[in-house]
């Protein structure tokens, strides 16, 4: 689990949207539900956006999905008991939204993968070219195996947790992981061979 982002003082939605005009108004009032929502948004926006971006490989679409998910969270927040529930709910809703979005978009892939502009990672680790190639290869997987891989390697979730999120049997999750790793290994070895 990644550490929560430190939280600044909050105020009502109206005041936040008008904060540009009157910056001093930001500290005036703090309704409880909106503070909780703002905290949840700030702590999880990177996770939600990253899930959507790694799955859809389209910055605009990922932002749209993230925005929808947080709008839904605002209506649902009272029913979620703890920050752990919020994170679980966000991962689940984002995963399902992304799969639905990709299915709706269907065969008409909007942008070529080679053309996508990479957003900057918080801390870029490993070989950037290999990372990029891996993300491109990941995008060639079918929707469910792709989401399983992203939840496993972006969010560090266990197969049991992924199964609960995606509402599928654990053995199906393990099978998706096993097969997807084999496909990626084969493709990456082939592309390294092509370079040589």
């Amino acid at each position: 689990m990644r550490p929560a982002v430190p939280v600044a003082p909050y105020c009502s939605l109206e005041m936040l949207t008008e904060a540009k005009a009157e910056p001093q108004a930001k500290t005036a009032c703090k309704p409880v539900s909106e503070i909780a929502f703002a905290e949840a948004l700030r702590a999880n926006q990177s996770m939600v956006f990253s899930l959507a971006y790694h799955f859809l490989r389209d910055r605009g679409a990922a932002e749209e999905v993230a925005q929808d998910v947080f709008m839904q969270l605002y209506r649902k927040l009272d029913e979620l008991a703890s920050p752990r529930h919020v994170v679980f709910w966000l991962r689940k809703t984002t995963s399902h939204r992304c799969i639905d979005y990709a299915r709706r978009r269907g065969a008409q892939s909007t942008i070529a993968l080679e053309e996508t502009r990479e957003p900057s990672a918080a801390q870029q680790r490993g070989d950037p070219l290999l990372n990029r190639r891996l993300r491109q290869l990941l995008a060639t997987l079918a929707e469910k195996p792709r989401m399983v891989m992203i939840l496993r390697y972006q969010e560090d979730l266990t197969p049991d947790e992924i199964a609960e999120l995606l509402e599928m049997p654990v053995r199906t999750v393990k099978s998706h992981l096993h097969r997807s790793l084999a496909i990626l290994r084969e493709k990456i070895e082939r592309s390294i061979g092509d370079i040589r």
């Binding site: 949207t17 948004l41 996770m47 956006f49 990253s50 993230a66 680790r125 992203i150 790793l181």
Partner: protein, 107 residues
């Protein structure tokens, strides 16, 4: 964990969200709130329109009723005139008949 798995973790590290995301979410929420709760001004406008529509309907039906009364009165007047004309005609014819009868008796 093998090398590929570590490489996947590196490739799928969290990316920075667009700086506008938070503001967009709050703006969308504010928009959703303002459209779900109609303002008092909008409510007044709706009421005023309803009252105006009712007044218009009443005026139209009143005008129709007035026209019907006028037409009925005009019809009654025409009927009375016709009856008067027939009465005059009958009287005149009776006079002529009387005159004819008197002259034929004298002959």
């Amino acid at each position: 964990m093998d090398d590929l798995e570590q490489q996947l973790r590196n490739a799928l590290a969290h990316v920075e969200q667009p700086p506008t995301l938070e503001a967009k979410v709050f703006a969308a929420l504010a928009r959703a709130r303002s459209t779900s709760r109609p303002s008092r001004f909008v409510f007044w406008r709706f009421e005023a329109a309803a009252v105006a529509a009712m007044l218009l309907l009443a005026a139209v039906s009143w005008a129709g009723h007035e026209r019907e009364i006028r037409e009925r009165a005009a019809g009654e007047a025409a009927k009375a005139r016709l009856q008067l004309a027939l009465k005059i005609t009958v009287t005149e014819l009776s006079k002529i008949q009387q005159t004819v009868r008197t002259s034929s008796e004298q002959e």
